[in-house]
Symmetry: C2
Subunit: 384 residues, 2 copies
């Protein structure tokens, strides 16, 4: 559906937000780097908004979610009231989709030019998707279990497809420690329309694209979602793929992204450089990794990577926790800075994965986790 056919006149006002708008319609916006790291739990005012079409106008008293497919003993239409009858649990997790700008600077990429702040750390509450599926008879004993997926569809009409859709492995949905929720609250308040009212999926440890908002259906099936957003969007194409035509011939050869990679960013100073040399400057930023991996170390450099100091980490969920950590890490470091030299961070996650120095370009501009890039006109001496 082309943009001209979609009606954005019912989108909510975003006046109470303090965000940089990347696109008005569909509404896509993110906070500034310093605002992002002000709070460990990101308030809605500073929480990035990601949409692919007009924001639906739904009523929680009328909305239902259909659940069906392989292993389900019946087709079930769940009202919000029925969803709230399942045990209520809360999960703190990062919602993420991020940093296309760094790759776009290398070469043109396709998509909204997200900066480094299209992520936020929130507490979502709702019922476990696992509980809903198990109540319909879905278990890991199903034939060919490892090849089954849970597909989600949204009410959201999109520019790229008839509606937003995505899927996750059934094993993730049924994982006792996977924490996939059907959420109706964010930060202990009912979801707002911008964040998926009245009901959304949240998939901890996976890219935000899998956490489908305005949820209308859940289907167990023997293949991934056929949606544009699963098949031809969030995949890491090789550097050699430069055009839509080349991409179209390549999509099926690649896996859809699920878990995200290790990431960190210098948020204060906002532009990643200081105009004067300072012997002792406090810098701040965030770090995170996918799949429940926590951050074990962040190194910070005030001389573009020649020397490093170890940052102080704030990541309470990782303390003594031996299962998964879905929340992020905020860090601070005191470093010596030089005049107009890039300040960079590199995070090491609990599996020893490390950020690389240079971005590897890909056509869709996804999963960029290089060291922070800085506008070259701000620099006197740096390697990028």
């Amino acid at each position: 559906m082309s943009q001209s056919q979609l009606d954005y006149s019912h989108d909510p006002s975003h006046e109470s937000y303090d965000l940089i708008v990347r696109n008005d319609a569909p509404f896509n916006a993110e906070p500034t780097p310093p605002d992002l790291v002000k709070h460990y739990i990101t308030p809605e005012k500073y929480f990035f908004c990601r949409n692919h079409g007009p924001i639906p106008l739904l009523d929680e008293n009328e909305h239902t979610v259909e659940v069906r497919g392989i292993g389900c003993k019946e087709v079930k239409r769940l009202s919000l009231k029925e969803i709230k009858d399942y045990e209520k649990v809360s999960v703190m997790m990062v919602m993420e989709g991020n940093r296309r700008d760094g790759l776009h600077r290398v070469k043109h990429t396709k998509g909204v030019i997200w900066g480094p702040c299209a992520l936020g750390n929130a507490v979502y509450s709702g019922c476990r998707l696992k509980d809903v599926l198990e109540s319909l008879g879905v278990t890991s004993k199903l034939d060919n279990f490892s090849k089954l997926h849970v597909a989600f569809e949204s009410v959201e009409q999109c520019e790229e497809d008839r509606c937003y859709g995505s899927s996750i492995p059934l094993a993730k949905a049924l994982d006792e420690f996977g924490d996939v929720l059907l959420a109706y609250e964010m930060n202990y308040k009912p979801l707002t329309r911008d964040h998926g009212y009245p009901i959304r999926v949240v998939v901890p440890g996976y890219i935000g694209a899998r956490s489908v908002k305005f949820l209308k259906s859940i289907v167990i099936q023997d293949q991934e979602s056929s949606s544009f957003f699963q098949q031809r969007d969030y995949k890491i194409l090789p550097e050699s793929i430069n055009t839509e035509e080349q991409a179209n011939a390549y999509w099926t050869r690649l896996p859809a992204i699920g878990e995200y990679n290790v990431q960190s960013y210098v948020c204060i100073p906002a532009d990643g450089v200081h105009s004067g040399p300072r012997p002792s400057e406090q810098v701040q930023g965030y770090a995170l990794s996918g799949g429940g991996r926590f951050i074990q170390r962040v190194d910070v450099s005030g001389d573009d990577g020649k020397t490093w100091v170890t940052a102080q980490l704030y990541q309470p969920a990782a303390e003594g926790n031996s299962v998964h950590v879905w929340g992020w890490c905020l860090w601070t470091a005191t470093i010596e800075t030089k005049r107009n030299v890039r300040i960079v961070s590199r995070a090491v996650d609990s599996a020893g994965n490390i950020q690389q120095e240079y971005p590897i370009w890909n056509y869709r501009g996804v999963m960029n986790n290089s060291w922070r890039t800085v506008e070259s006109n701000r620099l006197e001496q740096a390697n990028i």
Copy 2:
């Protein structure tokens, strides 16, 4: 215990192996790079051996494994016969401990100087640790579950501690999709003494150090193993820690390594360079990642990273599999090579993690996953 007090006279003969011996006593050895990638399932002849002391002489008719601790309704001594009464399952997985040499070249590291071939891909068979623990009453409903661990002790006496020991999170042990086994077979034959006869733990997706051989006890406890090998060995120290004294003050501040990071290596040509320029040369190598993440792409360069081609991957377990992939990926690529210029590979795992170009040194020399390094005297033009 110092080396002089341990008796290696009963170690088995290793004459049938085709391995480079890194240390005679304890016996530590690995294959050459070309041998390693000859087979998708690594035969024992080419399978690295890792020991910290003399190889125990045990009899499977007499050996028992004690299981006890938090949540166990009794202290249980399991004979091998009883272990074989549990359902038998097989798991293909990589056993890994690797590439200290790359960091040792940067600066002295502590430990056996492993090359790039201290890993192998095998099929292990045995019973699920989960089944054993559940039969004793251990479940995820235990209080403070996320802070519980399963500690393993070995019969193996060690140079560094009274015996080999290690632990994993109880959540990994009980994970329905975690595939932790008490294994008594490797590649469909009874374990040999070199690989843990009569019984060992195998922990897919984790560094080999957690897969304890010659298993004598399993204890559920509210802290990690107190063993040297959990507390003061396999951890990634910051670059600034250079001495034993500095390390001793730092160990408790760091997490023990569990899952390993994304990795790949050029195995053919064996030395990572060609002496002549060749327009079309086939190169081969391996790639893998921890935590069940599979390899989605391997890029290969014949000009030290200036240009890249996409390798052909052989990784059958990843085909249509939406759960975990514990086996490795073998790859081939046809590239143009230059005279004495480094050939390198970089793998991208399913979570988008990528190998970095340069190693980040750490005192214990662990988790090195930089691009392949090459002896500089072999090179005419390269950046390392």
